[in-house]
C-alpha cells in the first residue's frame, strides 16, 4: 500500500511545474495547458486525501473541478480565438496595449 504523502508530493511537483509553465511561457495556449496541469495536481491531491480519509466528498470535489475545468477551457479557448482574430498571434506578451 503506497503512503498517501507520496501522491501529495507528486501533486505538489506537478503543481509547481504548472506554475513554472504559466510564468515562463509566452504561448497563451501553453500557459493554459500549464494551468490545467495545476488543476490536475489539485485533483490528485484531493483524491489522495479522500482516499486517506475514506471520504467520497473529495472525489465529488474533483468531479466538480472537472466541470469547472471544462467550462474554463471552453471560454478560454474562445478568448484565444478572438485574440488571434485581433492580432494574428496568441503570444500573450503581444497583448500589452494597456499598461501603466
Amino acid at each position: 500500500m503506497i503512503p498517501t504523502h507520496w501522491f501529495l508530493i507528486l501533486g505538489a511537483i506537478l503543481f509547481t511545474i504548472g506554475v513554472c509553465g504559466v510564468l515562463t511561457r509566452r504561448n497563451g495556449i501553453t500557459m493554459f495547458m500549464s494551468i490545467e496541469l495545476m488543476v490536475n495536481a489539485v485533483n490528485l491531491t484531493f483524491i489522495a486525501y479522500a482516499r486517506q480519509f475514506d471520504q467520497v466528498h473529495g472525489i465529488m470535489f474533483v468531479f466538480f473541478i472537472l466541470a469547472i475545468a471544462a467550462a474554463e477551457a471552453a471560454v478560454g479557448l474562445a478568448i484565444f480565438i478572438s485574440l488571434f482574430h485581433h492580432r494574428q498571434t496568441i503570444d500573450v506578451d503581444e497583448a500589452n496595449l494597456m499598461h501603466w
Partner: protein
C-alpha cells in the same frame, strides 16, 4: 509491485509535465499533457478510484485536450515557434518556482505525512458517487448546469465574428500623464 507502477508513472507524469512546460511546440505540449493525464489516471486507479480514472481519461484526455488540439490546429499554430521570453522573467520564473516546489515538498514531507494507512477497501464506486451526486450534492450539481450554460453562451459570444468595422477604435488609448497637472 504497485510501488513500481507508482514510481514509473510518477516519473512519466513529471517528465511529460516538464515537456509541456519546456517544449516550444504547442502540439507536442498538448500531446505530452495527454500523457501526463494518462499517468494521473493510473494514479487514481492506484488510489482505488477507477471511476475517476475513467473520467480523467474521458473528460481531460478525451474532451479538453482534443479541444486544445482543435484550437491549435484551427489557428494552425503547430509550426509557430515561440520566441524566447525575457531573461528576467525566465530566471525569476524558474528560481521562484523551484524554491516554491522545494518548500512545498519539504512541508508535505514534514507535516503532511499520515502514519495510519488508509482503511481499504475504498468504497467510492460509481454507485455511491451517483447516489451522493443526486442526494447530497444535488444543488451544486444543478448549478454546474448554469456554469456550463454560461460557458457555452460565453464561448459563442466571444468567438463570434466581430460585426461592423471598428477594429481600430480600441487602439486609441488613454493618454499618458501629460505635463499639465495641478500641483
Amino acid at each position: 509491485m504497485e510501488f513500481v507502477i507508482f514510481f514509473f508513472f510518477a516519473t512519466v507524469a513529471v517528465v511529460f509535465a516538464l515537456v509541456v512546460v519546456l517544449h516550444r511546440n504547442p502540439v507536442v505540449g498538448a500531446l505530452s499533457l495527454v500523457a501526463t493525464f494518462f499517468s494521473l489516471a493510473v494514479m487514481y486507479v492506484l488510489l482505488e478510484v477507477p471511476f475517476m480514472a475513467a473520467l480523467q481519461i474521458i473528460v481531460y484526455a478525451g474532451a479538453i485536450m482534443v479541444l486544445f488540439l482543435f484550437v491549435i490546429m484551427l489557428l494552425n499554430l503547430q509550426h509557430v515557434v515561440e520566441p524566447h521570453t525575457r531573461p528576467i522573467q525566465q530566471f525569476l520564473g524558474y528560481t521562484t518556482t523551484a524554491a516554491f516546489g522545494i518548500g512545498l515538498v519539504y512541508f508535505i514531507a514534514k507535516y503532511g505525512v499520515f502514519t495510519a494507512l488508509p482503511a481499504s477497501p475504498f468504497r467510492a464506486d460509481i454507485r455511491t458517487i451517483g447516489f451522493r451526486l443526486f442526494e447530497a450534492y444535488v444543488f451544486p450539481f444543478e448549478m454546474v448546469s448554469i456554469l456550463l450554460l454560461a460557458a457555452i453562451v460565453g464561448a459563442l459570444v466571444l468567438s463570434g465574428r466581430a460585426v461592423g468595422s471598428r477594429a481600430e477604435i480600441g487602439t486609441e488609448l488613454s493618454k499618458q500623464p501629460g505635463s499639465e497637472e495641478i500641483r
